[in-house]
């Protein structure tokens, strides 16, 4: 049946080439990850981890904005709260507030805070110069830490916005163990 003919040899060559193409495309899928990150960096779409820059430092004392603070944790044994519920600021003014976080588990845990804003639109006018959300935070067992956030509200903030809510959620980083636990809990609850 299978005596090697010129066609069979040619078929095998093409098979190898197409097989390589498939493997290369599998790699290409993973290559999209750094490519995506580069695009976000270049276009500045996703700069959650970088301090903002402030161009206009003129303080607009004619306006007063209420900034409210909120703190959440997601599947993380930390106590996390702002030390002030809200502050009143003028656009352009540099303000520093403090959050407090403590690890209630008896082993070190690494977490990453992700900010979000209400109204969502206000996010782009909220310039954070210093924030614990720019890097991962590792807390030793039972450690308590206070962490500052320094920010400026851009005077270009639309006139109809008088209140901004800054909300942080801490997630556990590389939470293999806890994620599995959580998945197990969910699966168990559903069954």
């Amino acid at each position: 049946m299978s005596h090697p003919t010129p066609v069979a040899a040619e078929n095998r060559r093409l098979l190898v080439r197409l097989g390589i193409a498939a493997v290369v495309m599998f790699g290409f899928g993973f290559l999209l990850v750094p490519f995506y990150e580069k695009i976000c960096e270049v276009t500045g779409i996703n700069n959650l981890l970088k301090p903002d820059t402030v161009a206009n430092t003129q303080v607009d004392i004619t306006r007063t904005i209420t900034v409210q603070f909120d703190a959440n944790t997601h599947d993380l044994p930390w106590r996390f709260r702002p030390l002030q519920t809200h502050v009143k600021v003028h656009p352009g003014e540099l303000v520093t507030v403090v959050y407090e976080v403590s690890n209630t588990r008896n082993e070190p845990v690494t977490g990453q805070a992700v900010p979000s804003y209400g109204p969502q639109l206000a996010g782009q006018f909220f310039r954070k110069l210093e924030c614990f959300c720019f890097s991962k935070q590792t807390l030793a067992a039972g450690e308590k830490r206070t962490m500052p956030v320094a920010f400026v509200v851009d005077p270009a903030l639309p006139a109809d916005v008088t209140t901004i809510t800054l909300s942080y959620t801490f997630f556990e980083v590389a939470g293999r163990r806890i994620a599995d636990d959580a998945a197990g809990r969910r699966a168990g609850a559903a069954s």
Binding site: G27, V33, Y36, A190
Partner: protein, 525 residues
């Protein structure tokens, strides 16, 4: 013919018999048949899920299933229909028809062909079996968007492995098809003389090789995010859930054309046969198919207009998407021009093909509407989108599959399909199809979201209409089963050239096609 028939019977009894014959077969016709039977079983399974969804949506409130299970149903309906029904069905057609159409004795790698098929039942068991594990099947939607897919129970892992296996199967099948078409054509069959079905499948196979591995990569990232501590899609670890959408749709949009290009090929075989004219603009059809395939890599983000893309990005993907209407329009005009002043008759395959053009084009137009970014932002995730993709996938891919099945059944079984039953199947399907899916346009424009088990009262009438249509459509598909079983069992004997105007090498072999054909390559003029 009489001289060949005993040969066929004799050959068929070589090697193992019974079940082992089917497990070990390397014959392209046997494997094609198994693909088609498998995909029909999956079609009925996905159909039962769809009918359960429609039963729940028959009236407002929760009557039939719980919301968690409803989400599993919408997800699994999509996965089963896309990866279990439509794609394997086209591979089944490719297996049966491509060697016959290009005058090859079999596929290039017969043993690999057997593996490609037998991976599928394994994947299907994993996928369907995931309903019965704690937490149930995946409910993240067929797109398996992160972060939802990172959070599900073990049903999600089973779906990921099923996708891996089906991906490997598709890639092996695609490689087989490319090699067969490029290297095994009969003498005289140049590329530009090849039947269009082979052309569309060649291009589809290249698309499969290019994008199935990307999907495999995406679900592998989900898997490692779930269990191995990576953070590709988790914002907390520096990842980004929106990136999943980009990678998924880089696969997903070419995938849409993987499901429709072979349908174009089938229709391009049928229309000339029953118009008794050669296909109008053969070369332009080849170029149009290639253009669609190439453009399909540059439009993926039109699925993501609401993710906060910059306006420049939206404009680029909007115009690129609209550009695809040009080659698609070329095809539709070519089919119509083929029929123009032809000696038309409307046997069952032709009815399905004409029905395909009519209804698929409507789906194409709603696609153009969805391509417009400001409108898409309105209709994103509403029933308008559900209506759109069912018009192109059911009325497009599925109707073309039925057209092809009725067209080539005489070659496969040796009997003509019953015209009365076939026509009944067509008319029931097209009427119930429109009753089901046309009202969904209105529901979507009025703002009814998809993938929700309950809805506001003002949507009640159109939903009831859609549900009635869905049950009619579902039951109509049993007519197809009757038509096929009847055709296999007996009926009017089919001639080698079963349809009067049929052209091509597959009509030069007897009906039913003997177990082995073209052992000596024919010369194609």
């Amino acid at each position: 013919m009489a001289a060949v028939m005993p040969d066929h019977l004799h050959d068929a009894h070589h090697g193992p018999t019974g079940l082992m014959r089917w497990i070990t077969t390397t014959n392209h016709k046997d494997i094609g048949t198994m693909y088609l039977i498998f995909s029909f079983i999956m079609f009925l399974s996905g159909g039962v899920m769809a009918l359960t969804i429609r039963a729940e949506l028959f009236q407002p409130g929760l009557q039939v299933v719980q919301p968690e299970f409803f989400n599993q149903l919408t997800t699994m309906h999509g996965l089963v229909m896309v990866f279990g029904a439509i794609m394997p069905a086209f591979v089944g057609f490719a297996n049966w028809q491509i060697p016959l159409m290009i005058g090859a004795s079999d596929m290039a790698f017969a043993r690999m062909n057997n593996w490609s098929f037998w991976l599928l039942p394994v994947a299907a068991v994993l996928l369907i079996g995931s309903f019965f594990v704690p937490g149930g099947a995946t409910a993240a939607g067929w797109t398996l968007y992160a972060p939802l897919s990172v959070q599900m129970g073990m049903g999600m892992d089973m779906a990921i492995f099923a996708i891996h296996i089906m991906g490997v199967s598709s890639i092996m099948g695609a490689i087989n098809i490319v090699v067969t078409i490029l290297n095994m054509r009969a003498p005289g069959m140049t590329m530009m003389k090849m039947p269009l079905f082979c052309w569309t499948w060649l291009i589809t196979a290249y698309l499969l090789i290019a994008v199935m591995p990307v999907l495999a990569g995406a679900v592998t990232m989900v898997l490692t995010d779930r269990h191995f501590g990576t953070s590709f899609f988790s914002a907390a670890g520096g990842g980004d859930p929106v990136m999943y959408q980009h990678i998924f749709w880089f696969f997903g949009h070419p995938e849409v054309y993987i499901m429709i290009l072979p349908a174009f090929g089938i229709v391009s075989q049928i229309i000339p046969t029953f118009a008794r004219k050669p296909l109008f603009g053969y070369a332009s059809m080849v170029y149009a198919t290639s253009s669609i395939a190439i453009l399909s890599f540059s439009v993926w983000a039109h699925h993501m207009f609401t993710t906060g893309m910059p306006a420049v990005g939206q404009l680029f993907f909007m115009y690129a998407t609209m550009l695809i209407a040009v080659p698609t329009g070329v095809k539709v005009f070519n089919w119509i021009a083929t029929m123009w002043r032809g000696s038309l008759t409307f046997e069952t395959p032709m009815l399905w093909a004409v029905g395909f053009i009519f209804v698929f084009t409507m789906g194409g137009f709603t696609g153009l509407i969805c391509a417009i970014a400001p409108i898409d932002i309105q209709v994103q995730d509403t029933y308008y989108v559900v209506a759109h993709f069912h018009y192109v996938l059911v009325a497009g891919s599925l109707f073309a599959l039925f057209a092809g099945a009725y067209y080539w059944l005489p070659k496969w079984t040796g009997h003509m399909p019953d015209e009365r039953i076939g026509k009944l199947h067509f008319w029931c399907s097209i009427v119930f199809f429109n009753i089901t899916f046309f009202p969904m346009h209105f529901l979507g424009l009025a703002g009814m979201p998809r993938r929700i088990p309950d809805y506001a009262l003002q949507f009640a009438d159109f939903n009831m209409m859609a549900s009635i249509g869905a049950f009619g459509f579902g039951l109509s598909q049993l007519i197809f089963l009757v038509a096929v079983v009847k055709c296999v069992r007996g009926g009017e004997k089919a001639a080698a050239r079963s349809w009067e105007g049929a052209e091509g090498l597959e009509w030069t072999v007897p009906s039913p096609a003997p177990h082995h054909t073209f052992e000596e390559a024919p010369v194609f003029k």
